[in-house]
């Protein structure tokens, strides 16, 4: 027994009532945020631009980058990198919303999934200190 209905698609009615889903402004914001996000993250990690640094041993927070120290223990910059990425990408998304819509139509949407794949080799390279230690001492 079988039916011929294709069930992995959804009717347009599902999106009814969702103003964000039908907004061209939101489309611009979302695509620019997601396209720029991986690039901004790689740049943020490369330049080491965390909005803040956290020292989990003492609970200390400080703006910008702060090094590990004997008094505060190890530092954590990943939260700061993530926040930097979100803020810059959101800013770019908001700025893109002011551009004419025809400009945004020229942007290939495939960049949304291609750029995070391209970011992976950089991310692996950025962790070279781990791989070197594993090669020498592991």
């Amino acid at each position: 027994m079988s039916t011929t209905a294709t069930t992995n698609r959804i009717s347009p009615a599902t999106t009814a009532g969702s103003s964000l889903a039908t907004s061209s402004k939101f489309k611009t914001f979302a695509t620019i945020f997601s396209i720029s996000g991986p690039l901004v993250y790689c740049l943020t990690v490369y330049l080491n631009w965390p909005v803040f640094t956290y020292w989990p041993a003492t609970g200390r927070l400080a703006w910008g980058f702060g090094a590990a120290s004997t008094s505060d223990g190890p530092n954590m910059t990943w939260y700061g990198w993530t926040l930097t990425t979100i803020l810059i990408s959101a800013g770019l998304g908001l700025m893109a919303m002011m551009l004419p819509e025809r400009m945004m139509r020229k942007l290939p949407l495939a960049l949304v999934w291609i750029l995070p794949i391209l970011a992976i080799p950089f991310v692996i390279y950025s962790l070279m200190f781990w791989w070197r230690l594993a090669f020498r001492l592991g």
């Binding site: 069930t7 959804i10 969702s18 914001f29 993250y41 190890p74 939260y79 949304v112 999934w113 594993a134």
Partner: protein
């Protein structure tokens, strides 16, 4: 904490919550990825056909919410990991394990920034303009999610629950 439960139990509970959220996310994203990669033409059939025949668009908001919640809980646990897990890993020369955890944190953020476009593409399933981008971003997120889950699982086996 605060005398009610031990610190060990406290972090183990949070790790368990992280696991439950991750399992939900993994299930939803895998269903969706199968539905876009190998769309089923018929609703009925074998278990694999039924697995692929889910109404995939209905998962989009749940995937976004679960990704953010899993991310937030993982971020909270990370503070304990940095002190209580990573330092012993380094002392034990588990450098590949430590490296893969850092790789995992980067992948989690890369996935997080994809969510707005992912959500938008899935909320407009009737628009063929978004078909390829929707498929691509869903598959990328699903692969990321499996990677995050497996690395987390291996790390937990190295020094996780009760450590």
């Amino acid at each position: 904490m605060n005398g009610l439960i031990s610190s060990n139990a406290f972090w183990t509970i949070w790790l368990f919550i992280h696991l439950i959220l991750a399992v939900g996310l993994l299930g939803a994203l895998t269903h969706q990825a199968m539905a876009v990669a190998l769309p089923a033409r018929k609703a009925a059939g074998g278990i694999m056909t039924r697995y692929r025949a889910v109404p995939a668009a209905g998962y989009a908001t749940a995937v976004c919410v679960l990704w953010v919640l899993t991310f937030l809980v993982g971020s909270y646990i990370y503070t304990s990991y940095r002190i209580n897990i990573r330092i012993p890993l380094e002392q034990g020369h588990y450098f590949k394990t430590g490296g893969f955890f850092d790789f995992k944190e980067h992948v989690a953020t890369l996935g997080l920034v994809l969510l707005p476009a992912y959500w938008f593409f899935w909320k407009n399933p009737q628009n063929p303009e978004y078909d390829n981008a929707r498929k691509g971003v869903t598959l990328v997120l699903a692969v990321m999610c499996w990677f995050l889950f497996i690395v987390g699982h291996v790390l937990n086996n190295t020094r996780g629950f009760g450590a």
